[in-house]
Structures are given as structure tokens and as C-alpha cells.
């Protein structure tokens, strides 16, 4: 009797943690997908997430725990970063990988700089209160399912809403048709009246805002702390998720679930190990998500599909190929 209950509790706990861990991957990969669909390949995700985390922490801390202020600052910073990134890649037509690498380094630097300037080095790091879970009225009373699915904080539910809305807008509306055309053949879209520059700026900014809020979530969800290593490669992995999700919101959802599953598995194994008294260096398990990324990327290469114009700047006056 106790054995089966333990198993059920284990599963419920596992599904619950998957939903907790899925959010950063989901939001960031969604941001990368949306930018990518408009033609902009933004690899600075890891840095923008860290910056969002830092800004959220500081804003929340200094406004006495007001989470709304924290997230608003993250959104603001996301917009500013998006404008800058867009200016360099869309208006100045600089190489998107060079800009992405630079922004990754710059945003990470700023994130840590701000934290050190405002908080400095302390013996015990300050913390803020984490988001309280919202229990959904009827659904959370369902045995097992209720505990695992319907007792999460607001951002978890919001991210699923974002994914659904993104899919609907991108694939089921005229705006989405136009938007995706910008990423596939901007000259075609331009000729038919679509403002390619505007669409790309919007795509980029939505991307960076999602990345920034994803960083907010990291701070607000489990620990309530900010550390330099809080993102821990999730930004990069999310780029991988966008790639093997073929730049599609729903496939990115699946990919994010996979990696959240891996992360939850790592913690599960660790707690099992402590229960069973097995000692292995924690670092072995922590490399699992990264190795998994390499394996999945290799496995799906045959079915890779990108928006055809991604990564290439658009110049209306540029000569045709056979000039």
C-alpha cells in the first residue's frame, strides 16, 4: 500500500516539477521562434535572460517585494534590448551572429554589474519572496492531476497562454501569414505592402521581452535569489529547442517539455540518491541537459527546417542575385 502511494506521489511530484521547470525554456524558445520567423536569428538569449533576472530581482527588492514592479522592469529592459538589437541587425544590417554574441556578453556583464552596484558583496545573499501558487478553483481538486497541474504560479499559466496565442496568431490569422512571409521571403512581402522593417522590429522585441521575462521567472519562482549562474545554459538550450522544434511554437513546447523533464529527472535522481545513500559527484548529473542537447540536435538533423530568410538582412535596394 505504501509503495504504490509513494509511486503516485513520485509521479505527481515529477509532473509538477516539469511544469515548474518548463517555463524558462518555453518562454525563451518561443521568443527565439517568433524573432526567427520574422527573419532575425537572436542568439543572445542567455545574456538577456540573465539581465531580466537581475533587473527583476533588484526592482522587486528595492520596491519592498512588489513583484509587478519587478516584472515591469524586466519587460522594459527587454524592449530596450530589443530596440538596440533590432537597430543593429535590421537598420544597420550587421551580422546577426556577431551582434548576438556581443549582446550575450554585454547583457551578462550588465546583469552582474547592476547587481554588484546595488547589492555589492554580502555574506548572505539577500532574497525576495517568490511567487505564490494560484490554485485554480475546481480543477485543482481533482486527485493527483489537480496537484500536479493546477497549483502553479501565474507565470506558468501565462506561458502556456502565450504559446497558444502565438500559435494561433502565427498560423491562423492574416497577420501571421504576413509575418511569416517576412521571414521566408522579405522581398515578396515588401512588394505586397508589408512593412518588413516594422514586422522585424516587432518580432525582435517580442523575442527579447520573452527572454527577459523568462529570466524574471527564474528569480521569482523557486529560490528568490539572484546569482551569476542562475540561467545555467538554459538560454543556449532554448536556441537548440527552437532549432529542433523547426521554429514552430508547438514543437518548441514539446522540446521545452523534454528538457524540463530532463532537469526534473536530474533533481529526482539526486533526491533518490540521497534517500538510497548513493554518492556521486553532482556534476555528473548536471551535465545531462547539455549532453542531451547535443544528442537531440544530431538526431533531428534530417528534418531541419528554417524560415528561408532567417539571419539575412533585407535591403530593398540590393541588386537581384544575377545583377
Amino acid at each position: 500500500m505504501t509503495a504504490s502511494l509513494d509511486l503516485a506521489a513520485l509521479v505527481v511530484g515529477y509532473v509538477r516539477s516539469v511544469l515548474i521547470y518548463i517555463v524558462p525554456y518555453l518562454l525563451t524558445s518561443l521568443g527565439i521562434v517568433i524573432s526567427g520567423r520574422s527573419g532575425i536569428y537572436n542568439i543572445s538569449a542567455e545574456g538577456v535572460m540573465l539581465l531580466g533576472a537581475s533587473v527583476t530581482f533588484l526592482a522587486t527588492y528595492f520596491s519592498s517585494g512588489n513583484v509587478l514592479v519587478g516584472i515591469s522592469y524586466a519587460v522594459l529592459v527587454g524592449i530596450l534590448v530589443g530596440l538596440a538589437f533590432g537597430f543593429l541587425t535590421i537598420s544597420l544590417k550587421l551580422n546577426q551572429f556577431v551582434v548576438g554574441t556581443t549582446f550575450f556578453i554585454l547583457c551578462s556583464g550588465f546583469a552582474n554589474l547592476l547587481y554588484k552596484l546595488f547589492i555589492g558583496v554580502t555574506l548572505t545573499p539577500p532574497s525576495i519572496e517568490t511567487l505564490r501558487p494560484l490554485t485554480i478553483p475546481v480543477m485543482s481538486d481533482i486527485p493527483y492531476v489537480g496537484d500536479s497541474l493546477f497549483k502553479h504560479n501565474l507565470l506558468v499559466y501565462l506561458s502556456f497562454v502565450f504559446v497558444t496565442v502565438s500559435y494561433y496568431v502565427l498560423y491562423k490569422t492574416h497577420v501571421g501569414l504576413n509575418f511569416r512571409a517576412v521571414g521566408e521571403n522579405p522581398k515578396a512581402a515588401d512588394t505586397l505592402g508589408i512593412n518588413v522593417t516594422l514586422y522585424r522590429y516587432v518580432g525582435t522585441i517580442i523575442g527579447t521581452v520573452l527572454m527577459s521575462v523568462s529570466g524574471s521567472y527564474l528569480v521569482l519562482s523557486t529560490t528568490g535569489l539572484y546569482t551569476e549562474t542562475i540561467v545555467l545554459g538554459r538560454g543556449w538550450i532554448s536556441i537548440g529547442i527552437a532549432i529542433f522544434g523547426r521554429w514552430h511554437p508547438l514543437w518548441s513546447l514539446a522540446g521545452s517539455a523534454l528538457f524540463a523533464g530532463v532537469e526534473a529527472l536530474v533533481y529526482l535522481i539526486q533526491s533518490l540518491q540521497s534517500v538510497l545513500g548513493i554518492r556521486t559527484p553532482p556534476e555528473f548529473l548536471l551535465t545531462l541537459p547539455f549532453i542531451a542537447t547535443l544528442i537531440v540536435l544530431a538526431l533531428v538533423y534530417k528534418r531541419a527546417e528554417l524560415p528561408q530568410a532567417i539571419g539575412r538582412p533585407y535591403d530593398r535596394e540590393a541588386p537581384e542575385e544575377y545583377a
Partner: protein
């Protein structure tokens, strides 16, 4: 063949371009051009490549801003800010490069940009649009399977999608830039018929081309452009070909010695060499290529190429020509079949080995495959044989490269400020000359050329064609792949046609017939 010559006469031009100037950097592309465009007629805009025809229409279509000049549409002065603006004014341009999203269906492509504002957030429903497009298809005679993805449609059909985009939006002026490039002769006729139908309903068409016989077939009036200057506008019925050619070409070309303008006079080959069988140079047996998914791309191709022979390969783009030349040159390995060069099996040899054995290649896509943009002109000229300039296989002998490059730049008249200039700074025509120079410098036994004169002006085209003919006289074999049937008929000894990955037909010079070849290009087999 005759097309009905009805045209609707209108008093006032729908579009007036006045004194249009446009420069790109140091080059002045348009020098004060004034042109009227009327609805209800086909205006043929004629000129060699580089004359400024496309540039002028790009200005009208809002892709370029003129440096000086005025534009009047429907009597009102306007500044055309973007292609979208031009469309709102009733003007649409179909470029040589189709502006279609290959992953979308034909209908989806037509739908782009057709809904805006808050309405565009509604769920997509294209049934109404589909009905409208069906009506337009019936009225114009241009039919397309709207539910098919563009990437599965042949080029001729894709062109129709482009035209439908315009018609559905109710444009008054339709501009077509070199529309016959990728059509079989029969498809060209169908297009011309459709255009005359449309003109009868009141549409105005501007037909940009460098081919005289096309404007003579379809246009009501002809405007001739040369070096950015409008030299004259004539009613087609009131002018003769010789006058027009003179205007197009100017004094630079000696028409008696010209290859392009001699019509179909036979080549100056002595009758002796006609009868002596020439030794075999290249033999291809049952060459086949399948892609990763198992689709057949090249299907059992067999032919031989003799010394001193030009084998012309005709066909509409997209029938496997690119894969064909790539397999022969070694860029791709075939899945079956054999290639023998002077008896030696080179089917699986590397590109470098083929170059060492005397093969060379002029690829069709000069910007994406022809040059290394941030390397200097000098370094580009030796790409492919660069290793032969090394001492002890390691260090590059730049002195020798420099002197060879100097010779080549002079001989092929490549316009460049310095041989150390980056290749990307050269104009398209000069890049093509660089690729030709590079190829001919290796004195190849077998030259594979794919659309080598695309986009070149008349003088340069003459030069390239005469170089090809001298290479043939020197005993080399040339595989000349081109979508320009007229050009192939000028210089080839034999013409074969590529259709859906197969090499069909092999006509010797005495049996060249445009419409027979056209049938092969369209896949009509036998009689």
C-alpha cells in the same frame, strides 16, 4: 504567327515618367528619361542588359528613389515611396526573380498583404479570395492550381501566380521584366496571347526585354533605351528591325562581324571539318542521380562530346540542368552511371582531379557560387588552380599570381581599380568576365558553362561567345547549358534538351528548329 492587334486607344497616359535620373555610386544608370505609359496597349521596353530598363521600372515600382525627375500617375504628381504605394496607385511589376514564398501555396502567396488592421487578426478564410482569383483566371486564361505549394510548381506556372497577384489587386499597369527567360516557346506564345487578352480589357503592359523578336511579336509600341538614355519610341507597325538594332547597339558593334545579330547564318566552319569525324572527348553513360528521399533528379543520361564540339543543352530552368553540370564537374557524385574523360573513368574523381585533367566550369550563379567576395580580384582569378601556384605545395607564389592576373585583367577587359580590390566591388558584368577569364586561363579540354552570358550587355556577350568559339577551334569540347534558346542556336553544333532530368533529343545544326526544340522542352515526345 500572328496575334490579334486590337488595342484600346487612350488619350492620356496613365503614367508619365519625366526626366528621371538615377545613380548608383559612381554609375549613372538613368540620364533624364521621359516616358509615357498608356493603358490598353503593350509597350515594349527594349535595350541590352545594363541599359537601364529594369532600373527605370524599379523606380516606377517604388523600389528605387529617383535622384531627380517627376512621376505622374493618372494625371497627379506623386512620389512613390514603396512597392505597396505603387500597387495602391495601380502599378505592379513582375521581376525576373519571382517574389514568392516557396513554402506557401499559390493562394497563400496571393493573399499576403491583402488584409490589414484589426481585421487581419481574424482566423484566415481564403474562400472569398479563391473565388475572386478563379474569376480572374477565367478572364485572363492564366490557370494555376491554387492549392499547390509554390516549390512544387514549374517556373512557367509560378509566373502566372505573380501575374494573378497583380490582376486580383486590380492594377492598371503591369510591368513584366524579361518574362520569357524561363518559358518554352509554346509557353511564350501562351503568355503573349494572355497579354493581348488583358490589353483588350484595358490593362496596360510594359514588356521589358533585350530580345528584338519578342517586342516585334507582342508589342504595340517600342521604346529603345541605351546606357540610361531613351533613344526613341515607335509604333511597331511603323519601324523596321535594322533601325532598332542600330539604336539598341550603337556604333560599338560591327554588325557584319557580330555573332548575335547575324541571324541564323551558318557558322564559318570549313566544309572539310564538317565531314571528318572528331575524336571523342567525353563519354557519359547512363548517368543517374537520386536525392536523399529517393526522388530521381537525373535519369539515365547518356551522350558523348567530341573534340572541337559545342554541345548546347536547352531546357527550362529547373529540369535538372544545375544538377547535371554539377555531376559532370564533380560537385556532386552520381548514384549510377559513368563518366569517361578521354577514356579515363572520372565518375568518382574529385573536382581537383578533374581540373588537373583539363576540365573547368563557369557556374550560373555568379554571386553565390562564382566568386569569393572578400578576396581580391587577383586571388579570385586563380580559384580552382591556386594550388598550382605554390612552391613545394605550401607557400603561394604571389608574384606569379600577380603577373598572370594582370594579363587576364587586360585580356578580358575586367574593369577594376586595382587587382587587390575586393571582388565584391565589381559590377555584375565584370564578375562574369572574371569567371570567364578564370575558366579560359586554364585552357580547358572540356569546358562546362552554365548561362555564361546571363545579364551581360551586348559587347560583353559578343566577347564571351567569340571566346567560346575560339576555344572550340582550338579543339576543346564545350558543354553549353543555357535557357536562352536563341543563343544556343547561334553557336552550338548540336542541341540536346533537358526535361525532368532526362536528356531528350539530339539535333544537329542542320536540323535546328525552334518549335521542335520547344516541344522537347515541354516534354512532348515523338513527332
Amino acid at each position: 504567327m500572328s496575334l490579334s492587334r486590337e488595342s484600346v486607344i487612350v488619350a492620356r497616359p496613365y503614367v508619365r515618367l519625366e526626366g528621371i535620373y538615377k545613380r548608383f555610386g559612381d554609375v549613372v544608370a538613368l540620364k533624364g528619361v521621359t516616358l509615357d505609359i498608356f493603358t490598353g496597349q503593350v509597350l515594349g521596353l527594349l535595350g541590352e542588359n545594363g541599359a537601364g530598363k529594369t532600373t527605370l521600372m524599379n523606380v516606377l515600382f517604388g523600389l528605387y528613389k529617383p535622384d531627380a525627375g517627376l512621376i505622374y500617375v493618372d494625371g497627379k504628381a506623386v512620389k512613390i515611396k514603396s512597392p505597396a504605394h505603387a500597387i495602391r496607385l495601380g502599378i505592379f511589376m513582375v521581376h525576373q526573380h519571382f517574389k514568392l514564398v516557396s513554402n506557401y501555396t499559390a493562394l497563400e502567396n496571393i493573399a499576403i498583404g491583402m488584409s490589414s488592421g484589426v481585421k487581419s487578426l481574424r482566423p484566415i478564410d481564403l474562400t472569398e479570395l479563391e473565388e475572386r482569383v478563379n474569376k480572374v483566371m477565367e478572364a485572363s486564361g492564366l490557370y494555376v492550381n491554387l492549392r499547390e505549394k509554390i516549390r512544387n510548381l514549374p517556373l512557367g506556372v509560378r509566373q502566372r501566380v505573380e501575374i494573378l497577384k497583380a490582376l486580383v489587386r486590380g492594377v492598371k499597369i503591369l510591368i513584366l521584366d524579361e518574362p520569357t527567360t524561363n518559358l518554352t516557346p509554346q509557353e511564350v506564345d501562351a503568355l503573349f496571347n494572355a497579354l493581348r487578352n488583358l490589353v483588350r480589357t484595358g490593362l496596360g503592359v510594359v514588356f521589358i526585354t533585350h530580345k528584338l523578336h519578342e517586342v516585334m511579336a507582342v508589342a504595340d509600341e517600342i521604346a529603345v533605351l541605351r546606357s540610361g538614355v531613351l533613344l526613341g519610341r515607335f509604333k511597331r507597325s511603323e519601324v523596321d528591325q535594322a533601325t532598332i538594332i542600330k539604336l539598341m547597339v550603337g556604333e560599338r558593334i560591327d554588325l557584319d562581324k557580330s555573332i548575335i545579330f547575324r541571324g541564323f547564318r551558318p557558322l564559318n566552319t570549313s566544309s572539310q571539318t564538317e565531314n571528318v569525324p572528331k575524336p571523342e572527348l567525353l563519354r557519359v553513360e547512363n548517368l543517374g542521380l537520386k536525392d536523399r528521399l529517393g526522388t530521381t533528379i537525373l535519369d539515365s543520361i547518356s551522350f558523348t562530346l567530341s573534340k572541337g564540339e559545342i554541345l548546347g543543352i536547352a531546357g527550362v530552368s529547373g529540369n535538372g540542368q544545375r544538377e547535371f553540370v554539377e555531376v559532370i564537374f564533380g560537385v556532386r557524385k552520381p548514384t549510377s552511371g559513368k563518366i569517361l574523360l578521354e577514356g579515363v573513368d572520372i565518375t568518382n574523381s574529385s573536382i581537383r582531379d578533374r581540373i588537373l585533367m583539363g576540365m573547368f566550369y563557369v557556374p550560373e550563379d555568379r554571386l553565390s557560387e562564382g566568386i569569393s567576395p572578400t578576396l581580391s580580384v587577383m586571388e579570385n582569378l586563380v580559384l580552382g588552380i591556386h594550388f598550382s601556384y605554390s612552391t613545394k605545395k605550401l607557400l603561394m607564389d604571389f608574384k606569379r599570381i600577380r603577373s598572370d592576373a594582370l594579363q587576364l585583367i587586360r585580356k578580358y577587359e575586367i574593369k577594376t581599380p586595382d587587382m587587390a580590390t575586393l571582388a565584391s566591388k565589381l559590377s555584375g558584368g565584370n564578375i562574369q568576365k572574371l569567371m570567364i577569364a578564370r575558366a579560359f586561363h586554364t585552357k580547358p579540354k572540356v569546358l562546362i558553362a552554365h548561362n555564361p552570358t546571363r545579364g551581360l550587355d551586348i559587347a560583353t556577350t559578343e566577347k564571351v561567345l567569340s571566346e567560346v568559339l575560339s576555344l572550340k577551334s582550338a579543339g576543346s569540347g564545350i558543354i553549353y547549358v543555357s535557357e536562352d534558346l536563341d543563343e544556343l542556336m547561334l553557336i552550338s553544333d548540336r542541341i540536346a534538351v533537358m526535361y525532368k532530368g532526362m536528356l531528350v533529343g539530339s539535333l544537329t545544326r542542320d536540323r535546328f528548329d525552334k518549335y521542335e526544340i520547344g516541344k522537347l522542352m515541354a516534354g512532348v515526345v515523338g513527332g
